[in-house]
């Protein structure tokens, strides 16, 4: 592995030659070269002339696609740098095949003020790794009482607003947030979960939680708020994005809304379409919110990915220190990390099973996240940022938490053997990450 700092200027032409280019935004899927110039895509097409460009020969079997964007991560900085920092999180993003991440505002202090946003933007620029897109809080301190200054947050660099970790519980507040955010073209991302129904639950309400004696969080806690938000989006015309959707009923509500033309989008995490509460034990690396749901819900998520009603795959990367997790299940914080496992999981469980096409996968991981958040990436059309992810769908990998670039190790997937990985990542035309586990990726090494 090599991680390099992409300079912002003075990059010569780079030509990615060969390989299969998949870019749903252009309807492209096939043998195609890609010429990058000055941090942007210059030209796309078969057999492009080399000219002055440095050539990266893409080996057969690899796939060139727009830089992947994880639209839901927690970077913990400022305030909880012992769990993760913007730099370690951005390193993890690159190593996971992502050129950009959108970070949730539940830092300490909460990103509810342009001062905090500015700090995040500055730290991300200093790291000079992946793009970091801050998400501002909907309400001050995410306490649900006083709306934040969306205009100032937008100006400072926020791409959306959310109180993630907490729902926007008050329906009137959600209504006003949707109305007000629409003025700035920002979606409101909601962690949908009725607090009274969640109560002090720590696992999905079902036979497994009952057996383990864990307090349940019913699927309906999510579904009722998703249904509410679809109705409020319809009422206001504002864009709502459902974070980490996990139950079948929520998907039904989203589908029904989309059929009526409501501006609702949604994401699902790899763990919610791969695992279910059947895997649940007292291992706190299986504790996250929303919790691992029933198999019916998991299967519904797979269906929603295939039929197009789910817009994005996001990881909800939630780093926690081992000490925080080495406690009683009830006491452990919710959340698992996902940046460095997402691509292998997606390729193994969705592509190689024949469940989704590569085009659909790229749509879920790049095209749609960019569209929902209004980001410049998500496409390799001429003029787009030269952010590129190269996938090695056939690479055999074993998840090793000990080798993660993230500061955290809280994953339930440690030791999993999977097929598929990110081979390399270019940010702004610069090779920012090369996966030396994928032998064929040596071509990306910059002399």
């Amino acid at each position: 592995m090599a991680t390099r700092t992409p300079p912002q200027a003075g990059i010569g032409d780079v030509l990615l030659k060969g390989g299969r280019l998949v870019d749903p935004a252009q309807g492209a899927d096939g043998a195609c070269d890609l010429l990058l110039r000055g941090g942007r895509v210059e030209q796309v097409g078969p057999g492009l002339p080399v000219g002055e460009a440095r050539v990266i020969e893409i080996p057969d079997g690899l796939v060139v696609c727009p830089g992947l964007i994880d639209m839901h991560v927690h970077l913990r900085e400022p305030g909880q740098e012992y769990k993760e920092t913007i730099r370690s999180g951005a390193l993890a993003a690159l190593a996971g095949g992502f050129t950009g991440v959108a970070c949730m505002p539940n830092t300490v202090p909460v990103n509810d003020h342009p001062g905090v946003t500015t700090q995040i933007v500055r730290k991300a620029a200093e790291a000079g790794l992946a793009h970091v897109y801050p998400i501002g809080a909907v309400t001050a301190g995410s306490r649900g009482e006083q709306m934040t200054e969306f205009g100032a947050l937008r100006e400072a660099g926020c791409v959306a607003v959310s109180d993630d970790g907490h729902p926007v519980a008050d329906a009137l507040m959600m209504r006003r947030a949707l109305e007000y955010a629409s003025m700035f073209g920002m979606p409101v991302i909601n962690h949908c979960e009725d607090p009274s129904l969640k109560d002090d639950g720590s696992a999905h309400e079902g036979p497994t939680a009952a057996e383990l004696g864990l307090r349940g969080i019913p699927g309906a806690a999510e579904e009722v708020m998703v249904a509410r938000d679809v109705a409020l989006s319809e009422l206001t015309g504002g864009s709502v994005h459902i974070a980490h959707m996990s139950v079948a009923g929520s998907l039904r509500a989203v589908r029904a809304g989309k059929e009526r033309g409501v501006r609702v989008t949604c994401e699902v995490t790899p763990h919610h379409f791969i695992l279910s509460d059947e895997q649940l034990t007292y291992d706190t690396n299986f504790k996250m919110n929303p919790p691992l749901r029933g198999t019916v819900d998991r299967d519904a998520m797979l269906e929603g990915l295939a039929d197009g009603s789910i817009d994005a795959i996001a990881t909800d990367h939630a780093p926690h220190h081992a000490d925080d997790k080495a406690v009683e299940f009830d006491k452990a914080p919710f959340g698992i990390i996902g940046l460095e496992t997402a691509i292998p999981l997606v390729l193994d469980r969705l592509l190689h099973t024949g469940h989704l096409s590569l085009t659909r996968i790229v749509e879920l991981l790049a095209t749609n996240p960019a569209r929902i958040l209004g980001l410049p990436g998500g496409s390799l059309a001429p003029g787009a940022p030269a952010d590129v992810t190269v996938l090695a769908p056939d690479a055999e990998v074993e998840v090793s938490a000990a080798a993660f670039r993230s500061r955290a190790r809280n994953t339930p997937f440690d030791g999993w053997k999977l097929k598929g990985a990110a081979a390399a990542v270019l940010v702004g035309g610069r090779t920012a990450y090369v996966n030396d586990q994928v032998a064929a990726a040596t071509a990306f090494e910059v002399p």
Binding site: G206, P207, A210, L212, G213, A326, E328
Partner: protein, 328 residues
């Protein structure tokens, strides 16, 4: 040399040739096989005799250190374990959360590591979090006995309940057992359901729908909110305590109505078999889940349960310690 166990001295050991438990820990009733359950009950049967001696002590656990680590208030269970340990000549010490480093913010894992460093042989743990004993078993090389973990399990309570039932009704497979009350929060119910269904009993669980655990019927029981249906023809009626300390409201409107709908009165009990036995793990909420006339009445075996607790826990500690000498 064949190790002698108390079971050898008991009448017709139903557990057959089995003389050891497979697991060094007792975390969940679900970890036991039917043969192991019977071994524990047979061993407890023999241990009962120790309690009738003028000097109620055998050297079986001499030189063994047993720590009773109690994070929740407990009178019955802690005393029962402590008496059991003393009758087996173990060195027993009690740690209560209120007098420990827990109040200084020490994590359970650190408490466990520190205890571990002092090399106790057995740790008996009572904790408000489900799975706390599993966390301890992961960290410690001591043997762990679960004395109640949150809403998960209370295996020694269920085993002593079985011992009590067997004294009156030896064939579990012929019994209808009704477990009635706050099912959702009850670790006693969970352990009993596992053991009783394992031994072939017809188990009914009864409580208001608000306190019915999701998917309880998957555990091989009949679930109902009709106490009359549950009690009808029952051989054993096991009442559960309304656990006000584990509740966060909204489960039922009032204790009065709860008693009206789910309290065990003498009139209701008349639906059961004439030789019914009434059980309760304690502590009682008189006039709530059980009327005093029933708790103190002729069918009640509630105090037998308590007596049996000592012998049963002696058996569990003895078997868990893997002692191969006899009790004499």
């Amino acid at each position: 040399m064949t190790p002698r166990t108390p079971a050898d001295t008991g009448p017709a050991a139903a557990s057959g040739q089995l003389s050891r438990l497979r697991s060094p820990h007792l975390l969940s009733a679900a970890d036991l096989t039917p043969e192991e359950v019977l071994l524990i009950l047979d061993t407890a049967g023999a241990m009962r005799e120790v309690g009738t001696r003028p000097i109620k002590k055998v050297p079986a656990l001499r030189g063994k250190t047993v720590v009773n680590l109690f994070f929740e208030p407990s009178t019955r269970t802690r005393t029962s374990f402590e008496i059991a340990e003393k009758r087996l000549s173990a060195d027993a010490l009690n740690i209560a959360a209120s007098g420990s480093s827990v109040v200084k913010g020490e994590t359970l894992a650190d408490t466990a590591r520190n205890l571990e460093a002092m090399a106790p042989d057995i740790i008996v743990i009572r904790h408000q979090a489900s799975g706390a004993c599993h966390l301890l078993a992961d960290i410690c090389s001591s043997r762990i006995v679960n004395a109640g973990d949150g809403m998960h399990e209370h295996p020694t309570q269920a085993l002593l309940d079985l011992l009590t039932i067997r004294d009156h009704k030896p064939d579990f497979a012929r019994l209808k057992v009704a477990i009635i009350g706050d099912l959702l929060h009850s670790r006693v119910m969970r352990s009993n359901v596992r053991l009783l269904t394992m031994l072939g009993a017809d188990v009914w669980v009864c409580g208001p729908p608000t306190m019915m655990p999701a998917g309880i019927e998957l555990q091989g029981v009949t679930a109902t909110s009709s106490i009359d249906a549950a009690v009808e023809g029952a051989d054993v009626v096991m009442m559960l305590r309304i656990q006000l300390e584990r509740m966060s409201g909204h489960f039922f409107p009032s204790l009065r109505e709860y008693h009206e709908l789910f309290g065990l009165s003498a009139a209701r009990l008349a639906r059961a078999r004439p030789d019914v036995i009434v059980m309760h793990p304690g502590p009682l909420n008189r006039g709530v889940e059980i009327a005093s006339e029933v708790a103190d009445g002729p069918y009640s075996v509630i105090l037998e349960q308590v007596s049996n607790g000592v012998a049963l826990r002696m058996a569990v500690l003895y078997l868990i310690a893997g002692v191969s000498e006899g009790v004499d």
